[in-house]
Symmetry: C3
Subunit: 340 residues, 3 copies
């Protein structure tokens, strides 16, 4: 259904943008990312204006890029500052520069009309760069349209089947959800609160909490790109105190950035921030490895679905049930953003 | 030219359908096959009604399949019997079940309107499961449209060129054929009877017959799927007795099932049943290896032709001669079946 | 923009056409090449008239080809002289034969109406088969449209960036060019004459000339196929004598044949003929290796550009500057030839 434009998308983790030239296609637009000597991230269209050679396969010269084919040279604002064989630089020699913002350790890029870019509209994920929290993260390329990943993340009942043994237990699929949509703010909330349930190995082996637990999964989806899963694990029966004081519980903020690469491929950024076992590198390694395994299980399943869709007749009809309420709301908000 | 629908197709050998989940696309339709505890073959559409996940990549639970993504559970008749997160099962939650029949050691599936499926219409290949006969067989995936395999098998003069040294001798291409078409029954007969000819190694090394032979190739093609080659090898001059009594000859029933996978790929099932050297495993191994080699020679040539067709301008015209009479008749019957 | 037809194209080096059957697609037309016992090159459409099997995957029998599928047999003029199973040969059984000429060690084929083929129109590259010259050469398959290679070769300022360290020096991009177009003859001339410049390793290590040089690059492009680069390397200040007598200079004739394979792939034939170090096999090996390296740098860059073009929106606009004058003239002549 096309891309939601005039929107911010996560393009990279801050540490991916540095001295080198990072090529990444966002919503079908090839972009080269780098960081100036002063530390500012830069995002330019990844095509020389002359003969379309990718700037990402070219050479940095200070804060400028020299095209690897004929030497057209670009400044961080996209202006061409040198061409071969002549002194005069054509007035139109300029590549588009994308608005880019680094916030919460993420590099966000604006896809759409640069004049409409408003940094204040970028949703926050503060735990990624906040004292008292530690984050592990990665990015897996997904050979499937971003809508399939949104579907996947908005309905966690699949944890029971696709991720059994990791984060899935029978109770996830059995516990009903509540869904709310804030149409004005454009946010979908899906909540599943399980009481007195089995603790999956993902948390049993990382939190140190023994025995039966209360497990909360509170999802916030800020279309098009940012997905937050507030995960609370506590010994069963323990409630948070007033003012969100909740010392006996462990909290994980599972963050996904769902960034379309093309119509049928997606950058699947995943992050796990936690407020427990902060100094325990074994827990970091375990959560990184476990979450990556879970993400790869999703990737494998969604890549299969993409192939199924590619081969199916037009007008194929899905059947939806209660668990899909959040996903259907997300689709509706996305359609509104794309004008589709 | 599309697929002939409301027709039976060989989907698998009986031994391929068992405890596991066998995915096979027939005439463009993805189907999952398995066998119930009671021994009955089952054929269901290979797509969960919920989010189209392939049932063939899911889990068997007794005679049921539990979808590997969200746990929708299906009975052998295609009815959904459980969904996650709720007790009520939607009325329309059902995957199509295909009529399926196991006969002559083959699993046949009906592609079309299930109400029109008539088991009596399935053509027979009794030697595959009959006392006094032994069969070797296999299946090779063909990256070419089924029409090319039909062409190939209806005109055996190509044995002389493509299969020289195996089943081809100069006399095959030189000997004229007779062709008959039973329009009412929808069967094509092509017969080539060679007298006093060289015995190809395929038969010389398996039958034990020495010297010059009479060699009969009597083809029956039952469109769309079943191809029978009645092959008779006898010392030259020996005729069959009355009542088909023919003790001095060796008979091989070469059976092909030509099952379209997609518009441009085919399941090439091949079988060689014989009434000689029944207990000789060396002969079985020799015939299996030799026939597979011959089939792979065809596969290689037809895969080349498919690529040629993909690159050629529309309206390309072939030139046909006498040897093509059977193939042209087969095309005519197939066109009638597809309404093309 | 399609192919220029009614034109001669280089199909192969003379030594590539021999006893075997050489398959090569020229301007989208699959052609089989071979040489008769009398030494004449033959070019036939690479498709049997019967069931389109490639003649190049068939068998030679003297000067004839026997189709590997059903034995249709063709003479060097394309006439079918034998078919299986019958004596009468259909009147229309004939594959197209292409006009073919061997000249200057190159095998040229005529794409278009055979009646219009005029050998005299083939442009010459005499150094490839002339006393006093030695040639090294090769062919690299290019996964990019031929227009990109024409662009590349008509503007050598890219040597400075893409081929730095081989044939590129800063002065190439800095030195202005002169461009002339002979519209009547259909030839583009681009000339760059550098005085008192650095000698790139390509020539420093092969000519034996020490120190600063004068370097001439005089291009002649004969659309659609033949590109000549007359390269003169001399100690700086030394001018050619009258009557083109130029003993103190070294001359290299760099010849490219730019032959479209398909709309998006090209046969990139490259040749380096020289009038110096004629007996020095070390120089031959060095120039062959160096020029191949340079060609592969171009191939890599142009393959990238082809992928860029495949993904870009229609109507994408390039920006051209002075260095592109030759390339733009070449495009204009090519468009005139294709009627586009």
């Amino acid at each position: 259904m096309g891309f939601a434009t005039n929107q911010w998308y996560v393009a990279a983790y801050g540490e991916e943008v540095g001295d080198g030239l990072l090529a990444r296609t966002i919503c079908g637009e090839p972009i080269v990312f780098y960081r100036t000597g002063a530390g500012d991230p830069v995002a330019l269209a990844d095509r020389c204006v002359h003969r379309r050679f990718p700037l990402s396969e070219s050479v940095r010269d200070g804060d400028q890029i020299i095209c690897g084919y004929h030497g057209f040279t670009y400044a961080p604002d996209g202006a061409c500052v040198a061409v071969p064989g002549q002194v005069r630089i054509p007035r139109t020699a300029r590549v588009p520069a994308y608005p880019v913002v680094e916030q919460d350790s993420l590099v966000w890029v604006w896809i759409g009309d640069p004049g409409k870019a408003d940094q204040a509209a970028i949703p926050r994920a503060p735990w990624l760069a906040m004292d008292g929290w530690v984050t592990v993260r990665g990015m897996e390329p997904l050979a499937a349209r971003h809508e399939l990943l949104i579907d996947n993340l908005l309905d966690l009942s699949h944890e029971t089947y696709l991720h059994a043994g990791y984060i899935g237990t029978p109770e996830v699929a059995q516990t009903p959800i509540t869904t709310e949509v804030d149409d004005e703010a454009g946010v979908v909330y899906v909540s599943r609160r399980m009481k007195d349930v089995e603790c999956p190995s993902f948390y049993a082996d990382s939190t140190g909490i023994k025995g039966r637990i209360d497990r909360w999964q509170d999802i916030e989806y800020h279309p098009p790109c940012l997905y937050l899963l507030h995960s609370r694990i506590a010994p069963t029966g323990v409630e948070p105190g007033p003012d969100a004081d909740d010392p006996a519980a462990c909290h994980a903020e599972i963050v996904y950035a769902i960034t379309p690469e093309t119509e049928t491929s997606t950058h699947d950024f995943w992050m796990v921030a936690r407020d427990f076992a902060l100094d325990d590198e074994g827990v970091s390694a375990f959560l990184a490895e476990s979450n990556r395994t879970v993400v790869l299980q999703d990737v494998e399943a969604l890549n299969v679905l993409e192939k199924v869709i590619a081969g199916e007749p037009e007008g194929y009809q899905e059947l939806s049930i209660n668990i899909d309420t959040g996903g259907l709301a997300a689709r509706r908000l996305l359609r509104r953003m794309t004008g589709a």
